[in-house]
Assembly symmetry: C2
Homo-oligomer: 519 residues x 2
């Protein structure tokens, strides 16, 4: 039909698009790089009074039962700040006023920058951002099946991340490269992330030396001193208390090292209802909130004004097996209510695109959709594990990475406002088409059809016969083709030779020193 | 683990559940029959002023351009009611005041009953209901592939419908039984629906005789006279204007026949942006609204107080091929805004669970999720095509029917409020578990774990190794097992012998008369 022919002519106009098309066989036309914003008020699932009940219950936990801080250095800092620390005891108790005073020092939003300072994301307010997955021990794809994480898969995920615009932040290792020795793994992985992509990244809270290594590599790659780094954060720490009610040494060191350099921290209790948290969602949320508030307050004690994010990962176990479940209706409710809590504390908010499926199938999609819609409606500023997560985080799926990219773009199209100007209301066009006629060739249509609708890269809208003739590929098989095509079309972003050499020299030096073996 | 053992003991208590389990191999424990309600305010995507702009634009279309009513009887009725009818011209024009006066006569909600009068659904307000799919010309399943619709597949879908509680209303033929001759098809299908299930059903607006046949069969099967039928509607008509701007004879007869007997009408323009409607969403919504208002007003002219529902099916075409697309971000926006329009007119609202995928795959799921979440957030009182729809309505999928049931249950769990009573806040339980401990065996957990969380019937939460050992079945394959098991466990609901014989006698008599061949 006519639309098709004209569409083809139209496409030639964009050089960038054309290049993309040649690389991926006309299948990967994506959203331009942009910052998304929620155009409506986030959803409230509980009333202000219930939110207050939850808040007060959490403060009571912190006052009466307290929170273990295993690191003596941290307890000393907490004591100086007015928390109730008993010599030789890990458990610290907090007065509600002190907690709230510290939490109030955290900014309501912050920016995190890519290698180019002008590429930044705002975390807070109506801004919605999506990160890649992090830390699965396995990689999987249709052709190769499931295998232990390795450096080649790690690099391949980075190639996708660099090219997919809705993969806005790198939330850690897209898969653990288990074939690289632990003491030097952070060096190789950070160099790969810093050279193969230009996006903001994460530093793991493994130990002090590794964190400092990574910070130094960021300084080199992004050509920054500490003042620049504080002014324009590039790397974030992701902190998970050892639920219930404990921050261990590694996490506390992570908070201290990131806060000192003004790098943002995402504080996310792993409060799995029925396992590490009460089986009741009200109880799990109470515990989550107590743990989050304690960690956020501690970060402010280290350095007032440290950018922090309120994180929620509360989900439930499978009652039949005790296995963790994700993308459940219960987790979606907790995502929404946790967003309400974050807004109550005037803090940016993190959720996750989680699922527990063993394959990139219908279950993976409906569980992810539960997570994604809840994230959207909660105004999540940082959707962690946004792309590629499978098996409750035990596997990184190449096909799921592509499916997630499509689903995220679709959701971001959903929140794009509609133009209701007189020309778009189309009264003349409506009058110009006879009853039972059609608008296919009308001037109003011809003027707009090229940009009127979102064009997905993964959905196949051919009729059944054409789809069958093209091989009856389901969406997961088509995702496979797209990810392979993107691997082929990858081009490493340009980095100044001298910078690359400095980075190499640092890695070589630290490797020669044995890396950072302490865990 | 302990939880598992106790869970099994607990299950034995419910006889009904036990029976279910025997039939389906422990896989199909579902929600009890219930009426769902949205516990929060529906989402507004446009402000009151924009809604008013849209409303006024639609009234302008009706006043200036009008709407064709092809049936002379309908034009005569419209003329008597004050519409502007020109002798011999199909197009009728409407004063805004007249339209709004008629629309205001429609009730804000209504009930539709099953064969047992006490089984009813409320359509309107916060109530959310889901119907089966309707009218695909093909049936498909993994084992048998895609084939022309036939009576056996038709009956098999009814067997699923009867057993799946979230399949609350029968929205028409789950698949067209093309192997039954057209003049008698309505007789065979209606008898099957009325005897194999007890749920509310739809009457097609094919022609006057067939509608009257079906109404008579409903009277027989449900043992009602016309007064009962008006007091407790059992069957609804689904009206699609021949967009743009035309109601044809069949649809007008459908409105007249249903309205006379007080049976509800769902008025749903098929305003596909770029084809039967302007390519701009604002224009498509303007046209949809004008068409819906005209049809709703006409139903009130036939019989004031006729229960009607405002239907939206606005979606967009694929810009590359001109093919209709469903479950798109654009359609989701239109679902939400149409919900706002319905509420503005104080009318119950219908949306759809639509998708355009050629297989029950990831695309089918993410497109359906777009439709389902938009339906939920718009407070859709009637989610048409709720279960089984595939290929933009060209195929009925057995596996998708099961996947949809699971997705609907999950969404309905999402809207189930959380208990925030003191016992659920679990402060004592939180104090009773040491830092870094766990809640698996705690008294608080043991008292609640059996009912704490929703247990999906389709999701597989085993770990990867166990899943692999069990055959690596993806969710669609598992859906196949479930639907086959449900076909095996189907038992026809009891109907009084005399009623069944009366129904048979009616079908035989009408068949002997040649059925209703016109159209």
């Amino acid at each position: 039909m006519e639309l098709n022919a004209s569409r083809k002519q139209g496409r030639g106009r964009s050089r960038d698009r054309q290049r993309r098309n040649r690389a991926t066989g006309d299948s990967f036309i994506q959203h331009p790089v942009q910052q998304y914003q929620l155009p409506f008020k986030p959803l409230d699932l509980v009333c202000a009074q219930t939110l207050e009940t939850l808040h007060q219950a959490s403060l009571k936990v912190l006052r009466e039962h307290g929170m273990a801080f295993t690191l003596p250095q941290a307890r000393a800092m907490l004591k100086r700040a007015g928390a109730h620390v008993v010599e030789g005891e890990p458990v610290v108790r907090f007065d509600p006023e002190m907690i709230m005073e510290k939490v109030a020092q955290a900014p309501s939003d912050f920016k995190i920058h890519g290698r180019k300072a002008e590429d930044f994301l705002t975390c807070g307010g109506p801004h919605i951002n999506f990160s890649t997955l992090s830390s699965p021990p396995n990689a999987t794809d249709l052709a190769g099946g499931r295998r232990p994480g390795n450096y080649q898969d790690f690099r391949n995920f980075l190639k996708l991340t660099h090219q997919i615009n809705v993969a806005q932040v790198i939330a850690g290792y897209p898969v653990e490269p288990l074939d690289i020795a632990v003491p030097i793994r952070h060096l190789y992985t950070s160099r790969a992330i810093l050279t193969m992509t230009e996006k903001p990244l994460r530093v793991y809270s493994h130990n002090r030396k590794r964190i400092r290594d990574v910070m130094q590599m960021v300084r080199i790659a992004h050509q920054l001193d500490d003042r620049d780094l504080i002014a324009q954060p590039r790397v974030f720490g992701s902190i998970n208390p050892n639920s219930p009610r404990q921050y261990d040494d590694a996490m506390l060191i992570g908070i201290i090292e990131c806060a000192k350099l003004g790098q943002p921290l995402i504080i996310t209790p792993f409060t799995l209802a029925g396992a590490m948290a009460p089986v009741s969602l009200a109880g799990a949320l109470t515990l989550q909130n107590a743990e989050a508030l304690a960690g956020i307050a501690f970060a402010q004690i280290v350095r007032p004004g440290t950018p922090v994010m309120y994180g929620s990962f509360t989900s439930n176990i499978d009652m039949r097996s005790g296995a963790p479940a994700f993308g459940t209706p219960e987790s979606a409710k907790c995502i929404i209510i946790s967003g309400q809590l974050a807004r109550r504390y005037n803090l940016p908010y993190r959720s996750s695109n989680a699922n527990a499926a063993n394959a990139p199938d219908a279950q993976a999609v409906y569980e992810s959709q539960m997570s994604l819609w809840a994230s959207l409606l909660s105004q999540s500023n940082f959707v962690f594990h946004g792309l590629g997560w499978l098996e409750g985080g035990l596997a990184a799926s190449f096909e799921k990475f592509i499916i997630d990219a499509e689903m995220i773009q679709g959701l971001m199209e959903f929140i794009r406002p509609i133009d209701f100007s007189p020309a778009e209301l189309a009264l003349d066009a409506i009058g110009g088409v006879a009853p039972a006629g059609h608008y296919l060739g009308s001037a109003h249509t011809m003027q707009r059809y090229q940009t009127a609708f979102y064009t997905p890269f993964l959905s196949d809208w051919q009729n059944f016969e054409a789809w069958q003739q093209a091989g009856s590929l389901d969406a997961t098989r088509r995702a496979e083709k797209i990810y392979r095509s993107l691997l082929d079309s990858y081009e490493q972003p340009v980095m100044d030779d001298a910078v690359g050499e400095e980075l190499d020299a640092f890695v070589e030096k630290r490797e020669a020193e044995g890396g950072s073996p302490v865990q």
